[in-house]
Symmetry: D2
């Protein structure tokens, strides 16, 4: 990637929608509509356009049928239609590929631009979008696990510090991060809207999509999603959690969709909208950083993530992380985690399982 | 033990209190009062007497200072003072040791009887007890993790079928159990009051106390207890959960007190009070039986349990389980578990952890 | 009614089902199935048989089409089939009308007996009943306002003290009541199963059915039912609440079904199963007795109730209450209520509304 | 007030703190600390400085001892220290009184400015403020009714349309309002941060402070506050609710502090941060606008509000509303409200009470 552009970055409002390639629309529909209860704005043989109950734009998730499960785009909304052109100019100056998108290139979305960002992710910037009914008060269709809105993206990238610098230049601010005493950064959470994040950067071989996250209002709605999957004999779609994050303080659950895409359900992080919002740095060895209750992270959560496509729809090759891996430094012979600094942990917190 | 008595068994109402030997009263107090919020009825240099917010008897838990952490007694309440004598006669006929207890032998408790039951547990039967203020509506002292009442005992015993027969003779009914296709029973849940259980029988080397369980009204109260332990940097007291049980359908959490005694916090099992309440048998290989969400059971939960004392206060020797162990048949090279019968499970449900 | 029988009363387990006459089955179905989410066991042109998610008997509510909205029967389950005959004998000795019911006289119910009880209510006693699937773990069909089970009946009767004596003879115990300093009883809560009540006696012109109540697990499920009715533009079906009862300490909501039958949704009263469970008497002038938050009771709640049928299906004439009415002594010029005894209340707690 | 200024308005972030004059600090402390659980940053003989659990600025509420209960200031935070001067210039151009505030004029707050805004309210703009510990994860001190942060102010003003225009010029956007078919505006909700509001304008004799509102995470935390007040025999501090707002969709509760200041506890409105966030206009006759469940608004809620002080500490005289009053057009002989347009409502929704 080129040096830092001199032009102004686009004024990004928030993480707005993701486009996922899925290999079986019916299976995906059973998960996203049948279990998660997302509202179908439109569906046809090629794609399903979904939104959550408090969203009034056409969609916050597109499931598009394709041969290989992958991420096709992460879309940010910008503050006005003019900012789409600002984004195009900015990324052209960055020297990455930039593709204009005509009105309706994605159903419900106006003239937009997609770029291959310097980290290798397919990213869209848009403003114009079709408005649809906001189901905020449609309690007649809210299920027991009602989801309110898309909250954030989480991307896996080898060099978290570089990714952080790139996002800071783009106007994102770090709310929390995970470091070690040597200064290595393992992950960072960055926001535009005043929540803990719109995008999280997770250190690992990349570019890959680690997960996208939707928000509920209350914790019991997340618990119900687990119960619901149990009732369907699909508890194996629950990968990690539910639990309380240390980072973000949110209550969370990680699911795997029928293609293995990871979906987080998330609630109750905190307001970050003041300019002096304190940044919180966690020690990578603090066993409460990823789960405030100290419950072990499952290995797949660290190692697996979705392939991402370039703008031609070709899967991106991976670049390996060269800095230490969070799993390696926290678990097993070469790592350690503590509940109270300097004290050994009980076996059941070490992640050794039968 | 002798053949089945011909005399009538005592009319047991419910699991009523446990007496635990703890080695540091201050540390125990910090856990049971500081974190769990139990109400202190009385405390002195030798013991702390605790109750939950909806209980009006003197205590449902006694923490008594002693040299070795152990269970000193599981106490059942019987329907009248006369039933105490009925219990004494019944156990004498069973041929086990029976000790009368004078009024106040345990503070707050009337004339009672303690026995060494045929499974090797120290069990008390009592009716008379001091009444104290019921804090049902004392919301000024209810914390965010308010506990309502003691719910059940869980004991580890080598031969679950024998233990079940013994409890059936005593008037308990099985609500649910875990078996394999060969008919081996791994665990059974048995009740007197119309809930899923007053006592659960867990197959393993015994006699040991697996856990005692307290009930809350709502799930969020259990989640708060986890959050609270995190805030105190004591997340290592969270051993397993929170989660949804398959068996009992209750929402649960397992903690370890400062002496390692296991305490469950539990809510929302179901009514069993009709005589034809259906018994539910789970396949030991069903990965949703212990956790409806399929989350792995930590090894310590299967292997560790509290020593129990005889009526002289001496730790009971263990008798090994000779039938297959639940952990062995469900996990690892010699075991298997399924989410959907006949299908392999994903790695993160197998209990393999980093 | 005759003097107290010398024969043994039937061994009643609990309030088990109600049969309501409704005038429009489709409208009733929209309410009980569409909003409350009850499970349809059977329906035809004449009746709908409903159960809640944790119930395994054929139904806990029968809605039967008829010309006049009324209560057709309150049914108690007894401990065995033999107890049905015991009930018949007991009521014959009481001198009231007793009608045997053949198997299937009510679909799903075995041989039973219906009586016109001494208070004028049509009451059934049954044991045999068809078992159906228990939906305890069917979270795929549990809505956000999931109801677990029928909890209790509430009947309006002129002489609460007489009604209390009649129920005590029948084996019910009072958990709580409302009295004044002169000893007049305004209401009493009486139980067989170990909850606050199976039947509540409300002083007023009777016999009328004040309400029947279903239980949920958590408070948010009750709040959702309100939200759901708002979304359907049927908020006028919400008569009173949600709120916290003083009596019983339960969280509550009163709805009116399409025929005006009052349905309570109720959660989290307390365990009463020990023989020495303390009885709690509330002062009728205590403004927290009916609502712990002191919110005013709406007038209709005191004055309106469902007609009841005799065993020929004819509406029972009313007998007027001769003792003071609770509404009269607590509100308005002739009454008073206090938050703290001896202090005046603010206007918004007096029930004066614009 | 002068014509619209030509200068730029200050860049306001959000409603940040209120300063209330109270007449008994101990009584206020018992309410705000004892019941609401706010954290004391500082207290002395003259004032108590309070914050909620997720706030890191010195305070979001100042309770200052004074002879007459009143509002002393509503403080907005601006985006930088420079914006304080921008605010001063803007209000000077508006022709209202502007008073600079030295560092520490309010403890914990830097150099600021207070104005008598054109509506007659004492309003402060500040940026610099002392940072204190953010108690987000201090679950050891979170009570069952834990409050997260200040959410909004609600002011009573005679001419809502003028007040709306003034706030729009200041950069606020309307999320929702209440109007009648003749175009009269009864109330409007306006935001800077991306929630439903930072300030609500309520039509009525003014300037008066209608209420200030704090947010919790979940509904049960609000219910607990009611239970807690009941336990303290202070249920008469509950003025209205709990309920679900139509406007904002938030779950709410209105309390009256010991001086009669109205405090709302509020949770779960929705995200408004996109520029095209749809504005929602409610018909004043829609009985679900103020309470989605149709429960009547108590008269005091419409008629009572706190006096406001000018910058000399003198109570502002009231200007009467000349347009129709919401209470008058919705209740009683001259008003009407509907659940479904064109249909009569049941008695218990009309607000007629015993
Ligand atoms: Ca809840
Ligand atoms: Fe996430
Ligand atoms: Fe248990
Ligand atoms: Fe009731
Ligand atoms: Fe408000």
């Amino acid at each position: 990637m080129n040096p830092q552009p001199t032009s102004t970055p686009p004024d990004i409002i928030r993480a707005a929608y993701a486009e996922l390639i899925v290999t079986d629309l019916a299976a995906s529909r059973a998960f996203y509509v049948g279990v998660l209860g997302l509202v179908v704005t439109h569906e046809d043989d090629e794609a399903i356009y979904l939104r959550a109950f408090e969203e009034y734009l056409h969609h916050s998730l597109v499931l598009r049928l394709g041969p290989v499960a992958a991420l096709a785009a992460l879309a940010y909304r910008v503050r006005s239609q003019d900012e789409v052109a600002v984004a195009a100019d900015y990324y052209r100056e960055l020297g990455v590929r930039v593709e204009p998108r005509a009105v309706g290139a994605t159903r419900g979305i106006g003239e937009a631009v997609r770029v291959e960002d310097p980290l290798g992710f397919p990213v869209e910037f848009f403003y114009d979008a079709e408005h649809v009914e906001r189901f905020t008060r449609r309690y007649d269709v809210h299920g027991a696990g009602a989801i309110s809105r898309l909250d954030h993206f989480n991307v896996m990238t080898p060099d978290v510090e570089a990714a952080r610098a790139y996002h800071e230049a783009l106007g994102f601010t770090v709310s929390e991060d995970i470091q070690d005493s040597a200064g290595t950064t393992y992950a960072a959470w960055m926001y535009r809207k005043p929540t803990v994040h719109d995008v999280a950067l997770t250190g690992g071989d990349g570019p890959r999509m680690h997960h996208i996250a939707f928000a509920t209002h209350e914790q019991h709605q997340i618990l119900h999603i687990c119960d619901h999957l149990g009732a369907l004999r699909q508890s194996d779609k629950i990968e990690r959690g539910p639990g309380r994050h240390g980072v973000s303080n949110a209550f969370y659950l990680y699911l795997r969709d029928p293609d293995g895409h990871r979906i987080e359900i998330y609630t109750q992080d905190y307001y970050t909208g003041d300019p002096d919002n304190p940044t919180l740095t966690w020690d990578v060895h603090d066993n409460q950083r990823r789960d405030w209750w100290g419950n072990p992270v499952v290995p797949s959560w660290y190692s697996e993530a979705s392939a991402v496509l370039d703008l031609d729809g070709v899967v991106r090759p991976l670049v390996a992380r060269t800095e230490p891996a969070e799993a390696a430094v926290t678990i097993g012979a070469d790592g350690f985690s503590y509940t109270r600094e300097g004290e050994p942990s009980p076996e059941y917190k070490l992640g050794h399982q039968l």
